[in-house]
Symmetry: C2
């Protein structure tokens, strides 16, 4: 079947672009001797997870236990990093069950989380790895300072059921190196193991060698790119593998048109541009601006387009953030040279717990 | 089971609040003699659709064919309004199949859509109702002027397979009355049927009587409210029936904390407040601001909270827009007085085609 025959809106991944991105990024990490542990949160599909391992990933990262369970049930046999504060009786039960099947490492940032993990794993007779999450100055999760992170690491080192493996941060642009170096120094002075020093984030993935202390790196969006990566020059248009195919269903005036892809197909994520909020980049009409998306319509300003799209015409949209866009879809169509090669279930869609 | 035993994040609907909202809004329309045709796009569940009919709805509205198919397959026997420009061979096939089972009315805004609908329905020997969508001055879909809308209505009136029933607009606040009156006048002069004059939108639902020309009204969010409705005084906190139950999983400093509900549980929708973007209202900590949501974390500024939430604590979040929030969830837990009464599949989730 040709892509043109797919009903719209449809999420399509270009296999040539996907494979080129995998080759490029995995090749970079191999060249620099940094272990690459891709995040599956962007594609959420078993097919791509298996490809990432085939291209040399040392393991995988996922953000919620539910995603890890999908991988384990889908034939993935590797060690998993779940950089989350897993807590509560139900999730701890699921965690210990998972840890009996695959090596699992978590990344807590508080004594509360750590004590819960230790009690659950010790009582079940399993062990999980721990990376302390250290905050890199972006006001995200993570222990706020290297000194406090080291204190939490000491506690982990002393508690049963937990194996301290090192620490991680997110994101880790080159200028986060001093925080990483300070943490290493404090770990070393305290005699704490730190086999793993893990950085993350697609925007600075190809700068990872500028922090030679990193032993591992995590990235999620690199296989597919997206409107922000295009705008910031990290992916060319051809390297942006993920597109929502959509139809112009209304064009009331020469200034505005409506696509049959709204927030339920693109996600409600916004990318701020100099012309205002954008909810995606239209490949065929780069001067058009999807400024608003109601649930079932993309609202597009076409006033700057010299040639105006016609009702019934199909266009391709690069999502702003590929991760939440993929999460809106039950399936992803894999295509090459305009032909459908496979229809992949988005297995980990909606795994919020 | 008590709500406190649900694993988080979880989408919960309070049945007392739901029933009170249904009673209040359906009672209003009954009192004013306006037919009420609720939109199912907010709740997306068969259980609530059946309740809306029980509370006196004259029919239902849904936004995509896929939603209409879910209703038809779920025992709903009423006439459906699908205010969308349905086009393309595959969707037209599905439309004519649906029209053989239930009375269906569409709301096109272009000759392109209308001719496609006529060809498909006439060739299958079925008839569908048509409301012309007229633009109400909000730069949305709809024929831009009453005069052009009347021209399109004449075409519909002449084409086989289509039954012109009137026109609709969205949204229809009281000051849209002149556009509605002008359209009625033009329809009447052209001798066109207009049994249905349909307005829509929860924000002005209880003002519908200020446009006495309206014969029908559509609203989606009224059964559940949400953070915007609370802020704008339409729903009290108690009337906001839909909440995401979530756990504080990280609190690195006294200024910020992180919930286990991010865009995958709340949606990426933003509500602009005087303090900046908000992605939901925390019931227990109204001074907290969920300013950002990554996929699995709500990032919360708690600097203004006199009492600080603790790690492990559970809080309730009112979503900004209930519709995209519900679309992130596979199930909705129905509760009363803190006890779970039912777990409802979100049957129409993800029906983007």
């Amino acid at each position: 079947m040709r892509i043109e025959e797919l009903d719209t809106p449809a999420l399509v991944i270009n296999l040539d672009a996907l494979e080129e991105n995998l080759k490029r990024y995995h090749g970079y990490f191999e060249k620099h001797g940094i272990g690459f542990r891709p995040h599956i949160k962007t594609h959420k599909t078993l097919a791509v997870a298996h490809m990432q391992l085939k291209y040399g990933a040392i393991g995988l990262t996922c953000q919620k236990l539910g995603e890890a369970e999908v991988l384990a049930a889908g034939g993935i046999q590797t060690d998993l990093l779940v950089p989350y504060n897993v807590m509560g009786a139900r999730k701890l039960d699921r965690l210990t069950a998972l840890a009996k099947r695959l090596p699992v490492t978590l990344a807590p940032d508080s004594e509360f989380t750590v004590r819960g993990l230790s009690e659950a794993t010790a009582s079940e007779g399993v062990s999980i790895g721990i990376l302390i999450e250290v905050e890199m100055g972006f006001e995200r999760t993570g222990v706020p300072t290297p000194r406090e992170a080291t204190e939490l690491a000491k506690l982990v080192h002393d508690l049963p059921g937990l194996e301290l493996r090192g620490f991680m941060g997110f994101p880790t642009p080159p200028d986060s190196r001093p925080i990483i170096q300070e943490t290493i120094d404090l770990f070393d002075r305290a005699g704490l193991p730190r086999d793993v020093v893990s950085g993350g984030g697609t925007p600075h993935a190809l700068d990872a060698h500028e922090i030679p202390e990193l032993t591992e790196y995590r990235a999620g969006e690199y296989p597919v790119g997206g409107a922000m990566h295009l705008a910031e020059g990290r992916h060319t248009l051809e390297q942006c593998a993920l597109r929502v195919i959509t139809t112009v269903v209304s064009r009331p005036t020469r200034e505005r048109m409506f696509l049959d892809a709204g927030s339920k197909a693109l996600s409600a994520s916004i990318y701020k541009t100099e012309r205002g909020d954008s909810m995606g980049h239209i490949v065929e009409y780069p001067d058009a601006l999807i400024g608003i998306a109601s649930e079932e319509h993309g609202h597009v300003d076409i006033s700057r387009c010299a040639v105006k799209p016609e009702i019934g015409e199909r266009v391709q949209v690069l999502p702003v953030h590929p991760c939440p866009c993929v999460n809106e879809h039950d399936v992803m169509v894999a295509a090459r040279n305009g032909m459908v090669e496979a229809t992949w279930p988005v297995h980990a869609r909606g795994r919020i717990r």
